[in-house]
Subunit: 296 residues, 2 copies
DNA sequence: AGTTTCTGATGCATAATAGGTATCATGAAA
DNA sequence: TTTCATGATACCTATTATGCATCAGAAACT
């Protein structure tokens, strides 16, 4: 014979009532059924849980220990069933969200905050990563939603623009352009540029380089930093200038001058991306959530 | 139908193997039995736990949630059974120990430390209280062992001496007796005394007053403090002198002078006390432990 | 003192549940 | 195509839980 949850349920009611007949009524079973269930439980444990006589029933020390543990087990069981059900209908669960420096600097925090308000049971797990990494992780089912530099037009993905940024030129204090109110892209043709590594920042370059080509030059990149914070650091050291977005610039630590670029109309888009099929429920909820964000 | 531990056990093995046949072999049941148990579990939860096809079986998100919770429930069950068994044989449990200021100041800490080494599963719960309180709590089964000022000779109790203290006289610095090396009891006949309230300290008075009477005086108590720390505080303020034990004096905060009393041979005993019958197992263990302490 | 009325325990028959064997349907590999 | 492995189903059996009737002992009332 094996101890089951039934034994615990019966035991706990009896431990409460300390009376076999009343407990059996609360359990909607007959008194002999309760008596024997408790006997089986005690036999299996090889422990006397109740001191009984015709006049009184009371817990032994071991019975008290079993009551505490049994209560915990039952609570845990109930919580597990509830959680499982809520996960199955998408009320609970985890959502793995990838983000770039550009996304985390602007739209993402507010978006995740609102999502959490609408779906408090879903835990958001943020994963930092550049666009290419995120797209691969989406394919490998390591990620549910990516926030990447767009536009993404690969088959198998769906996406939605969540953020648009105008590029700005960032120069160190004392730079020859630092006193300007704005610059034209062609003004930067002869400058040294600081940027991220080519592979990781490919999607940003896809946006930036065509603009420069139209302006008649190819940026000369003299320094590569690991991320946007590093880029800003190198710029403020006077290693060169860079082109980033306003939101990223806000993370700079000083010693920097932002310059609008007046002849660039194209914006850099950040998109939420997800794989087209077999969405997990939390992902589906997030996609639905994104849809009705268009009003705001 | 109700979910039982059986369902969880089967589920967890299947979640491990992800193969009905192999899992059924590990469980020493037939494959159809496992199939149906999982079906029942899913039906009861109204949740699909496994994606199945002829080629693969894999957990759903809900299945993963259930696996975590189920594992916790099973672990909790096992721990509960184990603890209950250990409580029933006295390997685990709680021991409610009462103590006086005199006991805690000397023998008790070392004694409890050794007891804990011999019975690591038993949790000692200390309760401070004067002798009379402890004896009442022992009767009411609020306490398992009391450490009280003896001798205790009431029926229904058993006791064992664990500590003997010689009384010392404590006077404030600058007192007329402060420069003595020792005093005789009769020297104190005309002093003001500071002591604890009569009801609570009855057992200490039972020891002290007869000694004074033999020396030809009745102590004049001018101040009552709540406990021994308070007594020492009032003495150091110059409110009077007191008679306590050396171990208690060590807790004083300074400004005090201890004086041996040279003509008192009787010691004040502190005893461990317990009720004579129906000892709980941890109590029995402690009593046995006390017995073989006599060597030390 | 006798009777009623509680208590928990037990014997026996029945109902509910779990399990085993044989077999089916389906998809992948040979 | 055949073979093999998978999980699902049908049918019967074994195990376990339950209810009913009843017992035995103690307490409370008459």
């Amino acid at each position: 014979m094996k101890i089951g949850l039934r034994h615990i349920r019966y035991f706990l009611v009896l431990a409460e009532d300390l009376n076999f007949r009343r407990a059996s009524e609360h359990l909607h079973i007959s008194q002999p059924a309760l008596t024997r269930t408790i006997q089986h439980l005690e036999a299996e444990l090889q422990v006397t849980l109740f001191d009984r006589s015709q006049n009184f029933v009371r817990l032994t020390d071991a019975g008290r220990a079993f009551r505490e543990g049994g209560q915990r087990v039952l609570n845990g069981m109930e919580a597990t069933i509830d959680l499982t059900r809520r996960v199955s209908i998408g009320e609970a669960g985890a959502l793995r969200v990838g983000y770039t420096d550009f996304a985390i600097a602007d739209a993402l925090p507010e978006l995740l905050k609102r999502f959490h308000q609408e779906h408090p049971g879903i835990t958001v797990r943020p994963h930092h990563g550049v666009t290419a990494t995120q797209l691969q992780e989406l394919k490998d089912d390591k990620l549910d939603i990516g926030f990447v530099t767009g536009p993404v037009r690969q088959p198998g993905f769906q996406s939605r623009v969540v953020q648009t940024d105008r590029p700005i030129c960032i120069v160190p204090e004392g730079h020859r352009l630092a006193s300007r109110k704005s610059v034209a892209l062609a003004d930067l043709a002869d400058e040294d540029f600081v940027h991220g590594p080519a592979e990781a920042w490919a999607h940003f370059y896809d946006y930036l380089f065509p603009l420069c080509r139209k302006a008649g030059f190819q940026p000369r990149i003299v320094q590569e930093a690991f991320n946007s914070v590093g880029i800003l650091g190198l710029v403020s050291c006077g290693m060169g200038i860079t082109i980033l977005t306003e939101s990223i610039y806000d993370f700079g630590t000083g010693g920097l001058v932002p310059l609008p670029i007046r002849d660039v109309a194209d914006v850099m888009v950040t998109e939420a991306v997800w794989v087209s099929e077999n969405l997990r429920l939390p992902t589906q909820h997030f996609v639905d959530f994104l849809e009705h964000q268009e009003n705001s």
